[in-house]
Structures are given as structure tokens and as C-alpha cells.
């Protein structure tokens, strides 16, 4: 009898030992399902916030902190940002040497390329999916508008680097631009390069659509300025128009962009360019201590006070010719230190080197925290766009001078008794030169110099600038229109996208 009881138990245990049906359904606890991004508008807003976040997170390696790092890459390639010490840190130096953008295996170049396309892919999910999501219409418009603005801005940033410059006199611009990504492709497919003309057409369309959708949207919250509103979109439109040499559109867009954004005070000007609440900032990223960006952030490379090897041993300096040309009554001279030794008051980290013409424009939160808000668009830039665009238009010099003087007046140092402000009165090329000079000293370190030279078809020349060391620069001059003005596509893109055509080597 015992045998039968045992056999029954055994058989029963075999039959009934199967697991519950849901036993094999397991889900992660540190991520959410992709479908949740479009489950409702509040999730879609979270997915938009995620894009804002990856504007300043770290990518594959140190010094790859989203747009802040890309801004530095573009400025290293100009004449105005100097690596002053022969034996100093070589962090990021291959950009300064014009090697990185021509090295298909360079990690930084791969990062820059994938960074913009990562934003585009996230934006496309929202652009193409938000319409069917349950939730308030206003939220949907806001999300879609911002996503379109992202897509436009990213394509614009890419085409400036990878395509030959846009030339209004040779329309249509049939030279190859970059892949234009409007939908997220099936896996394994690649997208060919669109022409530069087509890229700009789409950029402008996306910006116009965004303007319609964002009308009436008010940014809120502690990180409000990391969002696109109509001001930011007008500002991008102004930049795009400037690049396309559409002077009138550039000027009117710039005026629209800075509406409501007064220029900052002298005091704010020397407070470190790290605070999004500054009146003048139209667009920027907000970083909080919790995000601790360690050694990778924008400020870990461009501040004067964060304790990293890069900053201690290779503080960044201004082109000395440029600095010498700044009037002593201009506050912008004061964010660089013309002294050496004890007279140099730059707040360097412990053991940090001091050099003449040293940058102190950018300050990290402390020597131990490389946190700081990252500036992307300021009212000053919009005044400079307006001034430049008007100065290049026939018969608009008065408007150009007015815009320039608005900025210069503000930057004039407030003292008691007051020093005399000498307004600009130049005309013709001298006026253009003065505006460009102001652009260089105003926007140092904010990522405009390479694209300014390229859009204007100018050469890059460090000749005659004594604080550039030939042993470090390796490259003194690059002629206008040289093939080196075009970035190369990273090898990983070449490997996985059979449709891509490399730029001339």
C-alpha cells in the first residue's frame, strides 16, 4: 500500500510542479517600456525632459558632455581660444590641432555625430507619435513644437559641420549635407545624405511649424530655460538665416528672439556664465548638484577653477591680440586676466597654473564640483546677429550701428565717476569688422568661431598671435574653402550605413 501512496505523491508532484503562467514574465526596475513614452501626455512630457537632460550628460568618454563639449570643439578650432602651456594638459587638443574632425576613428567626433542624431531620434518618436496620445491638446502642441525645434536645430548643427558651406549665390546648394532623419528607420537601414539645400529647407520648415505650435506656450519650472519657446525658435531661425546669408530674416528673427530678454549687468557679467536665471539667457541647460558631472562637463574643461588636470595644467587663454584690442572700459576685458604672477587674480584650483590672458569668464560651482548651467543662447548674440545682418545689407547701417551700440553700451564698465562711452560710428567693412570683433569677444568659449569662419568663407589663421605655441597648434593656417572645413563621417557610421558617402579625404 505504501508503494502506491508514494507513487501517487511522486506523480502528483511531477504533474503539479509546473510554475505559474506568469513565472517567466520579468521586467526591469531601472527602465520603463518604450511604449510608455507615448502612453499619455505627461509621459510624453517626461520624454521631452529626457531630451533636455541628454543635452548635458556624459557620452562615451570624458569631455563629451553634450552640447557644451560640442561648443568647445568648435571654438578650439578657431584662433581665439588658446592652449598656452607647452607642457600642459593635452585634453581635447586634437580639436585645437584640426585633427579630430578628420580622424574617422576619433571618439570625440563619433560622440558629436551620434549626440545630435540621438536627440533627433528621440524627437522623432514624439513628432510622429504625439498626435494620437491621450491628453490635453495644449500639451501635445507644446511637446510636438519643441521636438520639431530640436530636430531642426540638430540638423542645422550637423549640416554646418559636415556639408560644404551654404552659399546664397549658388542656389540650389546641391552639395551633400547630412542624412535627414524624419522618421526612425527600421533596424539595419541607413539613410543617404541629403543635399545641403534640402537640409536647410527641412530645417526651416520644422522651425516654422514649431513657431506655430509653440505660440502661447509659457515655460515654467526651475529648468524652464532648457525648453524651447518661440524666443528660442526665433533665435535658431536667426542663426540659420545668418548662415544662409538671408540678412533681413536674420535681423527680424533676432529681434523677435530677444524680446523680453534684457542685457545683463556688469556684475552678472563677471559672475561666471553658469546661471540660467541670468536675464540675458534665452536658452540653456540647468545642472543641479545631483547630476554631478565630475570630469566630463563643459565646466570641467572651460572653467578656470575646477580641480581637474586639464584646468590645473592647461588653463585656457584668449588670443592675446584680441584681448589687447578690447578697450579697458569694456567689462569683457575683465573676464580674462592680463597679468601674471601674484597680480593675476584668476581663482585657479589648488596648484593650478596661471598664465597671461587667462580665461576667468567661466566658473564651475567650486573646485570640487564641475556643476554649472550651460549657456546656449543669449540676448547679446541676438543683438550681434541683428547688427551683422544689417551691416551686410545695403542701406541698413544705421540699424546695424544701433544694435551694436546697444550691446557695447551695456558692456561699458559702470564706474563712478563714469568713463566716457564712445559709440561706434564706423561704416562699410570697418563696421562689419567691428561687429565681428565684438562677436568674438562676446561669445568666446560658447561655440561660434568655427562656424562663423566657415559660413563667411574666411581662412583660419593663428599667424602672428604670440600665445599660440606652434608645438601645440600644429596647424597655423587653413585656407578658406579647404576640404578640412568639412568634418569626416565617423567610421562607425561608414561601417553600418552603406548609403553614406564620405567627404573628400
Amino acid at each position: 500500500m505504501k508503494k502506491y501512496i508514494l507513487s501517487s505523491i511522486v506523480l502528483a508532484s511531477l504533474v503539479f510542479s509546473s510554475c505559474k503562467k506568469t513565472f517567466l514574465d520579468t521586467f526591469p526596475t531601472t527602465s520603463v517600456a518604450a511604449t510608455d513614452a507615448l502612453a499619455n501626455t505627461s509621459n510624453a512630457i517626461a520624454a521631452l525632459n529626457g531630451i533636455h537632460r541628454v543635452m548635458y550628460t556624459q557620452y562615451d568618454a570624458q569631455g563629451q558632455a553634450g552640447e557644451g563639449s560640442c561648443n568647445l570643439f568648435r571654438d578650439y578650432m578657431g584662433e581665439d581660444l588658446v592652449y598656452p602651456l607647452a607642457n600642459g594638459s593635452t585634453g581635447h587638443i586634437t580639436w585645437y590641432q584640426w585633427q579630430n574632425h578628420r580622424n574617422v576613428n576619433a571618439g570625440d567626433m563619433r560622440f558629436l555625430y551620434r549626440f545630435y542624431y540621438r536627440l533627433i531620434a528621440n524627437a522623432n518618436v514624439l513628432i510622429n507619435g504625439i498626435d494620437g496620445v491621450p491628453g490635453p491638446d495644449a500639451d501635445k502642441k507644446m511637446v510636438k513644437g519643441q521636438a520639431l525645434a530640436y530636430r531642426a536645430w540638430c540638423h542645422y548643427q550637423l549640416v554646418q559641420l559636415y556639408g560644404i558651406r551654404y552659399d546664397q549665390t549658388t542656389k540650389p546648394n546641391t552639395q551633400l549635407g547630412v542624412p535627414l532623419m524624419l522618421t526612425n528607420l527600421e533596424l539595419g537601414q541607413g539613410q543617404a545624405r541629403a543635399t545641403v539645400e534640402d537640409v536647410y529647407t527641412q530645417v526651416n520648415k520644422d522651425l516654422d511649424d514649431a513657431l506655430v505650435l509653440l505660440t502661447g506656450y509659457n515655460r515654467v519650472g526651475s529648468a524652464a530655460k532648457s525648453n524651447f519657446n518661440v524666443n528660442v525658435v526665433h533665435g535658431i531661425k536667426a542663426r540659420v538665416a545668418l548662415t544662409q546669408q538671408l540678412w533681413d530674416l536674420a535681423a527680424t528673427s533676432a529681434i523677435a528672439a530677444r524680446a523680453g530678454f534684457p542685457l545683463m549687468s556688469n556684475t552678472d557679467y563677471v559672475s561666471g556664465f553658469n546661471n540660467i536665471t541670468n536675464n540675458e539667457w534665452i536658452w540653456g541647460s540647468r545642472q543641479i548638484d545631483d547630476h554631478n558631472p565630475f570630469f566630463f562637463s563643459y565646466f570641467a574643461y572651460i572653467s578656470c577653477n575646477f580641480n581637474s588636470t586639464v584646468i590645473r595644467t592647461q588653463p585656457k587663454a584668449m588670443n592675446q591680440n584680441l584681448w589687447i584690442a578690447i578697450p579697458t572700459t569694456d567689462i569683457r576685458k575683465n573676464v580674462f586676466d592680463g597679468n601674471i604672477g601674484a597680480a593675476n587674480t584668476t581663482p585657479v584650483p589648488p596648484g593650478g597654473a596661471k598664465v597671461r590672458y587667462q580665461n576667468k569668464k567661466f566658473l564651475a560651482k567650486s573646485d570640487a564640483l564641475s556643476v554649472g548651467d550651460v549657456p546656449y543662447m543669449r540676448a547679446a548674440e541676438m543683438l550681434l546677429i541683428e547688427a551683422e545682418a544689417r551691416s551686410r545689407q545695403v542701406g541698413q547701417e544705421v540699424a546695424a550701428i544701433a544694435a551694436l551700440n546697444t550691446l557695447r553700451t551695456n558692456r561699458h564698465i559702470v564706474t563712478t565717476p563714469a568713463t566716457i562711452f564712445v559709440p561706434s560710428t564706423s561704416t562699410g567693412q570697418a563696421l562689419i569688422d567691428e561687429i565681428m570683433f565684438n562677436r568674438r569677444i562676446e561669445l568666446w568659449g560658447e561655440g561660434f568661431r568655427f562656424t562663423d569662419l566657415k559660413r563667411l568663407n574666411l581662412p583660419m589663421s593663428r599667424a602672428g598671435i604670440p600665445n599660440h605655441l606652434p608645438a601645440l597648434t600644429l596647424v597655423t593656417t587653413v585656407p578658406a574653402g579647404d576640404k578640412q572645413w568639412q568634418f569626416l563621417f565617423p567610421q562607425d557610421e561608414m561601417n553600418a550605413n552603406p548609403l553614406i558617402v564620405q567627404n573628400p579625404l
Binding site: 508503494k3 511522486v10 508532484s13 510542479s17 509546473s18 517567466l24 520579468t26 521586467f27 526591469p28 520603463v32 518604450a34 520624454a47 525632459n49 529626457g50 533636455h52 541628454v54 607647452a86 607642457n87 594638459s89 586634437t94 584640426w98 585633427q99 578628420r102 580622424n103 555625430y113 551620434r114 542624431y117 536627440l119 542624412p179 532623419m181 526612425n184 537601414q189 541607413g190 539613410q191 519650472g221 529648468a223 532648457s226 540647468r286 545631483d290 547630476h291 554631478n292 570630469f295 595644467t313 596648484g351 597654473a353 570640487a368 564640483l369 605655441l469 608645438a471 600644429l474 596647424v475 597655423t476 593656417t477 587653413v478 565617423p490 562607425d492 561601417n495 553600418a496 550605413n497 579625404l505
Partner: protein, 970 residues
């Protein structure tokens, strides 16, 4: 002709049971306790190298406790795991192999073919390593003691590098040539450039770039305009240039264990305790392990048998920071690559004297003293602001781990031929990882930062197995097994990371001011299986087996998660046939063959099929962002592995010579792969079932007593293996993809290099030349006369270098031989491992061949660089402006990967019985053992065994451990 060798009666451990080796259809290799008893192994896996044909291991690094990677019969997967399954006492083991005290191990069995592994279904495709721990012997009570005491040293020499006198002129040349050969524009003359580099102009010369002048001559008199070092130059701090002196050390190793075992008719027991203290040859790298085990089996009723095997251990370990190959805290990277002119401690730059701090001690030269005390900054290449000795001394990187492992079974026999087994097994491990980075130098400075992570893994396996075994009319043996099994793994952890140290000396998080990260996770992984097996043999002469298993795996979507796996096998003991009686020389002959299909799912993420967004809050606003590698793929499913195997086992001259020759053909299909996507898609990779490939090979094992003469025995064992790996199919959507130095495409192996073809060096100007991809005329194109009288189109721009397949890292042949010479109680045994053919990509060497990284060390092979027009060489011009073109990834860095390793050597002596028996001791043995005694490769410093991919990194070199030991029984 009767089999005399006891090995035929041998019982081997197989999936869900044991089997007589005689009637086993599968391919199985065993390492016994006696084989490892005399070796100073902290991790039992290190015994596998060279022990069994068809099994290849990477070198384990010098970190105490580290395990080698193991591949059985080729490389089964690309992105999923190729590592074999580790099974301890019959159940897959969730913990690391370093948890196991090697002295507890009775046998390590390696299952190689599909029939042997199929019953492990989804997890057995890459072979199975089955560790069986010791149990008590019936009828006697023993006390066994094992004591080992030894030391460890670096087992692999450093690459040969330039000294200070050689280095300065070489870097001078790099600067000079950069001015003569600028990347754009026209260069200056040699004469002018020589003067600049020597420091005779206002422009910075080589001394400014290298920053330190280690010689007793003026800064502008170190290297003359002729490029030669000043003959009067002698070093100011010659005794302080060795960066390894204080970081490396002679390690020590203490390994003690004792066990008590015995048994009676109804029960047996085994109790052990072990203590290990293994200090590596690098500062702050050690492992201490306290282990214990209790294995009890009882038979309280005739129909009931049950047992419990519980083990626990507590491990503490300091870890050398070799995680990142080019991370500044990695002491191997740092000491290998720092220029030979920079002192470890701060010196007076004029007199060369050590500078002393207020308490009269030397202090570290951190390389960014910024001119204070006259000590300059080191340049970037010389690791300014980083200091391997300071950081290794001040930082902490350690863990402690508690492991509890239990195996319980209840066997119920009923109806005479049936046995039901219920197994419950639990592996629980909790590990606490701590790291601290100091306030003085490195990533933690100036605030100091600390992280604590506690993670646990709980692995519960339940199985219910029903066995039926019957012998019919004496000659027919039938065995049937059916069962059900579930695996439930749960991993969870929390991590805190803070910075801003308040007081020195305490590294717990409370002592820090700012939170950098506070995270947690909980992951679940589950498998459910139904399994069955049938075996049959006739007079142990003919035998067959078959198995069937169905697995569901939580890594896949509901509709794709179930896979069915099976195997069949057969064998024939030819020596039992009557007609074999005439063949006297042949003492054993067995033919066997198997075929089976097994699945692979491990090694890809737990949620591999799911499309995911990650959390990404923007400041304080909640946010999520698309994962760049997790896209929904509900079709993602099992990778399958079909293996055919045939083997012949033989013994000659009364088994004085025995051997096995085997052939296998392993086909992997639907390989799981994270396929690289165009960067322009905004994604990086997507998980897909992609390629099909095969691994084929021949394995030969021979063991012979070459000499048996007057008590002298010389035994030789030879293992030889080949593996041929080929990808045979790629999906249409992704016909090929490139990752790192490799490309996967039809016809290639998974380890075929895909690199730009380095052509050589142009004798006219020393430029590095590559075979041109685009041959159109351009400023970088050159036409070079070739040997056949034609012209080769080459380029000086590495970006235009042509990518081609460049051979494989897989060797043509690998193997081992063991010689054992014994005379009476004395025995000497040596194990050699080797490989022939294959190529290594020597990254470490490439870093030492820079054309001008100011401050970085250089290989002595740089002496062969191009110097003047007409020089015929393969080493390009030194030129600090051409690092990309002269040093980029290409075939230049490939080297023949053949090697020979004297893996282990030991000498042992059995103390005479009459001597020790007075002390009531039996089996006393004294021995001396060495691991990694010598390594021979194509280049000093090159470790070809480091990675199967052939790519070298700055890893912790293997340790040479020399130990003395004593074992005895009471």
C-alpha cells in the same frame, strides 16, 4: 583480452547523475583531486588550462582569485555567452568560482559534446564544467591536512623601453620633424628646426615640451643640434625612475585546509575548513578566504536516502585598479607608459636631491606642482597630476563577500526500479564593494569621494526527477529519466556615492558632504524546464542514449521563449567483440558518437527583447530617454547549437599507451547579437538573431609511460587541439558588421581582423604608408615601385587606408604536454601549454611606438624608425604632428601569437611510510610547486593568452607563484 585498467570501471559525473565511463556515449574529461592537490591554486578553474583537449583558457591575471575565461570546442557565440556553465554538485552555480576551496573538490568534469550537455538544455551549449565536492568514505575516519606556503612575483616581464638618455634625443627628433614636415604649409629647414628643438631659440624646445630636465646639464644643452644627447649628461635622480619599485612587491600566499571525513553503512560525512591568504605582487591586491563545508548523507530507511551539502565562505579582497586598460589609476598602464625621465618623488631640479617635507620625508611628485618649489608640471603624456604610487597607496578598492550554498536531495526508491528525487538548492551571495578616491591626487581630489555598493544574488533551483532503471535478463540495461526544473534568480543592490570628505581616515559615506548618486535595482531571471533521458546498453558492448528537454526563458517574449532541445548518442566497445581477442596489442577500443541540439540565452541582457526608456530627469523635472540599445524585438529567441561528435578511445600494450582522438562539428545558428546600427539612426545597437557559424576541430590526447625501468617511471601526456571557426550565413538586412578590430561576414571567423593595410614606410620621407582605398589622385596619394616592376597606389592618410581581412587570432594548433618523472617516493612533474599560429593585436606595444607623445614611454623597437632619406624600415618617422597617421589602428600592430608557457612545475616527495607511521600519519607528502614559471612569445611583455580576441590591454600580468607544501592524513 580482458580490460585490466581500472579506468573502465570509472564512474563519471554527468548531468543529473553519474555513469560508468565504459558505456558513456559522450565526450567527457576529468580533473581529479590528486591533480590539483599540489598546485597553489586560489581558483580551481586555473587547473583547467592544458588539462583537457578541446578546452582553451585565457591567462588568468595576477589578481588573487581571478578566474580564466574558458572556451570548450571553439567559440559558440558572438554576443551571447561562450563561457561554459558551471555546475556545483549537480546544480548550476550562481556564484563565482573563487568561492570554492579547491581542496574541497573531488573532481572537475568537463562535458564537451551535445549528448553530455543537452540535459542542461538552454545553458549547456558551451559545454559544462561540473565540480563535485568531496564526501566521506564508508568504513574509515580520516583527518586530512594540507598546508601551503609560498610567494608570488610578476610572471611576465615588462616590454623593453627606452631609458632617459635614449628617450630625450628620440623626442627631440619628434619635435624637430614636426616642424620640418608640417601637416599644412611649408616646413622650416632642418637647421632651424634643430635649433628650435634643442632650445636655442625663443620658441619652446624639447625640454619645454618634456618639462623635466633629469640631467646635470643646462636645459638647452641636453640634446645637441646634431640630435645626440650631450655626452656630459648624467642623471640627477637615476635611483628614482622606477615607478614599479614601490607599487609592485613580492606577494605571499598561505593556504591551509583540514578536513574530517568518514562514514558507516547508513551515513557518511565530510567536514572541512580552509583558510587562504593570498597577497598579490601588486600593492593593495589580495584575497583572504575563510571557507567551510559540511556534506552529510544518510539512509534512514531502505527506500529513503537524503543528503545535505552546505558550504559557506567569507572573502575579503583588495583589488588592483586594472579595470580600465588606459585608466590613470591602473598601475600597469601607468608604470608601463610614463616617460623614463620623471621621478617618483619630488627632487630639487638643479641638484637632483630629494625634496623633504616639514617632517623630513620625501614626498610624491604629483606632476602638477605648478612650479612651486621649482618642480614643474609633467606634460600630459607623462600623466600630469596623476601618480600611480600615491593613488594606489591612498585609494581603496575592495570587497567582502559572504556566500552560502546548500544542496539538498531526497531520493525515494519504490516499485523496485523507480527512484524519485526531489532537489532543492539555494545559492545566496552578498557582496559589499567599497571604493574610495583620495583628496590629494586623482579623480577624487580635492574633495575625496567614496562609494559603497551592496549587491546580492539569490538563486533557487527546484527539480523533481523520476528515474527508472532496469536490467532485463542480465544483458539489457535500460534507464529512463523524466523531470521538471525551475530556476529563479534574483539580483538586487543599492549603491551610494558621495564626495566632500570631512575628516581624513574615515571612508564611510556619512563622512562626505554631497550625494553624487543613490541608486538601486532588482532583477529577476527565470527558466522553467521539462526534461527526459533514455539510456540502453547491451552487455556493455553496444549502448545508446537519447534526451529531450524543453526550456522557457524570461529573456524572450512569451511567443518566442520556449525552445526544445534534444540529443542522441551511441557507442560500441569494440574490444569486447570476440574477433578482437586475436589483436593482443590492443587492450581497449571504443567508438562513440553523438549528435544534439542545445540552446543559448545567457550573456544577453535579462530583458533583451524589450524596448526601453531610461530615467533621465532634467534638473528636478522628471524625464525619460530612449535607450540606445533596447528596442522591442518579440521575435528574439534562442540561439541554437547543433553538435556532431565522434571519438575513438584506445589503449595499447596493456594500456601503457592510452589515447583518445575526437572530431567535432558544432553549428551555431540564429546567433544573438547586438547589431551595430548607423549612428544617424540615433541608436547604437539592436538585439537580433543574426548569423550562423561553425566550429570544427580535432582533439587528440595521448598518455604513455615512456619509461618503466627499475622503479623509474616517466609518464608523458600530450593534448593537441585544433579549432576552425567560420561564419556561414549572415542576415540579409545586416550582411556584415564591424566591431573594434574585427568584422563579421560570411567566410570569416569571429576573430578575423578587419584592419587598414599598413604598407610600410616611404624611404624618401619616412611617412607611414597604407594601401589606398580611394586611389584617385590627391595630395596624400603616392605611387611606390613594387617588386614586380609595377606601382602600388598607397596613401599617407590613414583615413584613406584600405580595410581588408588580415588573418585571425585563432591559433592553428594549441595544446599542452605534461611530463612526470617518478622514482620511489620522488616525483617531478611539469605542464607546458602552447599555441602555434594566430595573430595578436598588440595595443600595449602600439602605445609605446608613438611618433611623438611628449612624456609617454617608448619601446626600444623605436630605434628602427626612419631617420633620413633612403632609410629602409617599417617604423615611420618620429613626428609629433602625425600621431593619427603614423600610429592609427592598422596591420602594423599585428604579431604572430605563438607562445610556450611553462605553466606549472612541481617536485614532490612521499615521506617514507615507516618513518611517518610512528607518528600515526599516513600518506605524508612534501612538495614544491611553481605556477607560470616562464612565458615565451614573439615579444617580451606580450601576453598572447590575455584575450581570445587577440587584442592586448594593460591588464594585471599573471603571477609566478612558488610554494612549498605538505599534506598528510591522520
Amino acid at each position: 583480452m580482458a580490460p585490466t585498467d581500472a579506468s573502465l570501471e570509472e564512474v563519471v559525473v554527468i548531468a543529473y547523475g553519474t555513469a560508468k565511463k565504459e558505456t558513456l556515449t559522450g565526450s567527457v574529461g576529468t580533473i581529479k583531486a590528486a591533480d590539483i592537490a599540489r598546485r597553489p591554486l586560489t581558483n580551481v578553474m586555473n587547473a583547467i588550462e592544458g588539462a583537457i583537449p578541446g578546452v582553451v583558457t585565457s591567462s588568468s591575471n595576477g589578481q588573487p582569485g581571478s578566474a580564466p575565461a574558458i572556451r570548450i570546442r571553439g567559440f559558440g557565440s558572438i554576443n551571447a555567452t561562450s563561457q561554459p556553465l558551471l555546475v556545483v554538485d549537480g546544480v548550476p552555480y550562481a556564484g563565482g568560482s573563487s568561492n570554492i576551496n579547491p581542496d574541497d573538490v573531488e573532481s572537475t568534469t568537463i562535458l564537451k559534446d551535445a549528448a553530455a550537455t543537452a540535459l542542461f538544455g538552454s545553458r549547456g551549449a558551451n559545454g559544462v564544467i561540473m565540480i563535485t565536492t568531496k564526501k566521506g568514505q564508508k568504513g574509515k575516519n580520516n583527518i586530512s591536512v594540507r598546508v601551503l606556503q609560498g610567494s608570488s612575483k610578476r610572471g611576465l616581464e615588462e616590454y623593453s623601453r627606452l631609458n632617459a638618455h635614449e628617450y630625450y634625443p628620440m623626442m627631440w627628433e619628434a619635435q624637430r620633424n614636426q616642424m620640418v614636415f608640417p601637416t599644412t604649409g611649408v616646413g622650416i629647414s632642418y637647421d632651424s628646426a634643430n635649433r628650435v628643438a634643442s632650445g636655442l631659440t625663443t620658441r619652446p624646445g624639447i625640454q619645454s615640451l618634456l618639462s623635466y630636465n633629469p640631467f646635470n646639464v643646462a636645459n638647452n644643452a641636453i640634446v645637441g643640434v646634431n640630435g645626440k644627447i650631450n655626452p656630459a649628461a648624467s642623471l640627477l635622480w637615476a635611483d628614482d625612475l622606477d615607478w614599479t619599485r614601490d607599487v609592485m612587491r613580492t606577494g605571499s600566499r598561505k593556504d591551509y585546509s583540514i578536513n574530517f571525513n568518514g562514514g558507516s553503512d547508513k551515513s557518511d560525512y565530510f567536514m572541512s575548513m580552509g583558510y587562504l591568504d593570498d597577497k598579490g605582487f601588486t600593492m593593495r591586491s589580495d584575497l583572504k578566504r575563510y571557507s567551510g563545508r559540511l556534506n552529510v548523507n544518510v539512509t534512514p530507511k531502505t527506500w529513503l536516502k537524503t543528503g545535505l551539502n552546505i558550504s559557506g565562505n567569507f572573502t575579503t579582497s583588495n583589488q588592483a585598479s586594472d579595470g580600465g586598460s588606459t585608466s590613470f589609476v591602473n598601475p600597469f598602464f601607468y608604470s608601463r607608459n610614463v616617460g623614463p625621465i620623471y621621478p617618483v618623488f619630488a627632487h630639487n631640479m638643479t641638484t637632483g636631491d630629494y625634496l623633504l617635507n616639514f617632517s623630513g620625508n620625501k614626498f610624491w611628485d604629483l606632476g602638477n606642482m605648478g612650479g612651486t618649489l621649482g618642480v614643474p608640471n609633467r606634460p600630459s603624456g607623462g600623466f600630469a597630476g596623476r601618480h600611480t604610487l600615491a593613488e594606489t597607496s591612498l585609494n581603496e578598492l575592495n570587497f567582502n563577500r559572504t556566500v552560502l550554498s546548500a544542496r539538498n536531495y531526497v531520493d525515494i526508491t519504490f516499485l523496485k526500479d523507480f527512484k524519485f528525487t526531489n532537489n532543492v538548492s539555494v545559492d545566496y551571495q552578498v557582496q559589499r564593494d567599497a571604493s574610495y578616491e583620495n583628496t590629494i591626487v586623482g579623480d577624487g581630489a580635492p574633495g575625496g569621494r567614496s562609494s559603497r555598493e551592496v549587491g546580492s544574488t539569490t538563486n533557487v533551483v527546484l527539480s523533481q526527477i523520476l528515474n527508472y532503471n532496469k536490467t532485463i535478463r542480465g544483458n539489457h540495461k535500460v534507464g529512463v529519466l523524466v523531470g521538471h526544473e525551475s530556476l529563479n534568480q534574483m539580483d538586487d543592490g543599492q549603491r551610494g556615492f558621495r564626495q566632500g570628505q570631512t575628516v581624513l581616515g574615515i571612508t564611510e559615506l556619512n563622512n562626505f558632504t554631497t550625494i553624487n548618486a543613490a541608486t538601486s535595482y532588482l532583477d529577476r531571471y527565470r527558466i522553467e524546464s521539462y526534461l527526459s533521458r533514455v539510456t540502453y546498453d547491451y552487455k556493455a558492448k553496444y549502448f545508446v542514449s537519447g534526451s529531450l528537454r524543453s526550456d522557457g526563458n524570461s529573456r524572450f517574449a512569451k511567443e518566442s521563449r520556449w525552445g526544445t532541445f534534444w540529443s542522441v548518442g551511441g557507442g560500441w566497445n569494440i574490444d569486447k567483440e570476440n574477433f578482437m581477442n586475436r589483436v593482443k596489442v590492443l587492450s581497449q577500443l571504443k567508438l562513440r558518437s553523438t549528435y544534439g541540439v542545445v540552446g543559448v540565452a545567457d550573456g544577453i541582457g535579462f530583458y533583451a527583447y524589450q524596448g526601453l526608456y531610461n530615467f533621465a530627469n532634467n534638473a528636478n523635472e522628471p524625464g525619460i530617454v530612449q535607450s540606445q540599445s533596447a528596442f522591442l524585438n518579440r521575435e528574439l529567441t534562442w540561439e541554437t547549437n547543433k553538435q556532431f561528435d565522434i571519438g575513438l578511445e584506445f589503449g595499447l600494450f596493456k594500456n601503457r599507451l592510452t589515447g583518445t582522438i575526437e572530431y567535432y562539428d558544432r553549428r551555431s545558428a540564429d546567433l544573438l547579437f547586438a547589431v551595430p546600427l548607423p549612428l544617424s539612426s540615433g541608436a547604437l545597437t539592436a538585439n537580433k538573431n543574426t548569423a550562423t557559424m561553425y566550429n570544427k576541430g580535432i582533439e587528440l590526447q595521448l598518455t604513455a609511460d615512456v619509461v618503466r625501468w627499475r622503479g623509474i617511471t616517466w609518464n608523458t601526456n600530450i593534448n593537441l587541439s585544433t579549432v576552425k571557426n567560420r561564419i556561414t550565413k549572415m542576415p540579409e538586412s545586416v550582411p556584415e558588421f564591424i566591431t573594434g578590430t574585427k568584422k563579421y561576414a560570411v567566410g570569416a571567423s569571429i576573430f578575423d581582423y578587419w584592419l587598414r593595410s599598413f604598407y610600410g614606410v616611404d624611404p624618401t620621407d619616412g611617412a607611414a604608408l597604407y594601401v589606398a582605398q580611394n586611389t584617385a589622385a590627391s595630395s596624400t596619394r603616392r605611387l611606390i615601385d613594387n617588386k614586380t616592376g609595377g606601382k602600388d597606389t598607397v596613401t599617407t592618410s590613414i583615413a584613406n587606408g584600405k580595410f581588408e581581412f588580415q588573418g585571425s587570432s585563432i591559433p592553428d594548433l594549441y595544446g599542452s604536454f605534461t611530463h612526470t618523472l617518478s622514482y620511489k617516493g620522488l616525483s617531478i612533474s611539469a605542464l607546458f601549454t602552447f599555441q602555434v599560429g594566430g595573430k595578436s593585436y598588440d595595443n600595449n606595444w602600439a602605445a609605446l611606438m608613438s611618433a611623438g607623445n611628449y612624456g609617454g614611454a617608448l619601446s626600444t623597437e623605436i630605434f628602427q624608425r626612419w631617420q633620413k632619406p633612403g632609410d629602409i624600415t617599417n617604423i615611420p618617422r618620429m613626428d609629433a604632428g602625425r600621431l593619427v597617421d603614423h600610429n592609427g589602428a592598422s596591420t602594423r600592430w599585428l604579431v604572430d601569437a605563438s607562445y610556450l608557457n611553462i605553466r606549472s612545475l612541481n617536485v614532490s616527495y612521499n615521506l617514507p611510510k615507516n618513518l611517518v607511521s610512528k607518528a600515526k600519519i599516513s600518506n605524508a607528502q612534501f612538495f614544491i610547486s611553481a605556477e607560470n614559471l616562464a612565458f615565451f612569445s614573439k615579444r617580451t611583455g606580450l601576453d598572447n593568452q590575455q584575450a581570445f580576441s587577440g587584442v592586448t590591454s594593460n591588464a594585471y600580468p599573471p603571477a609566478r607563484i612558488i610554494t612549498t607544501g605538505l599534506t598528510f592524513n591522520l
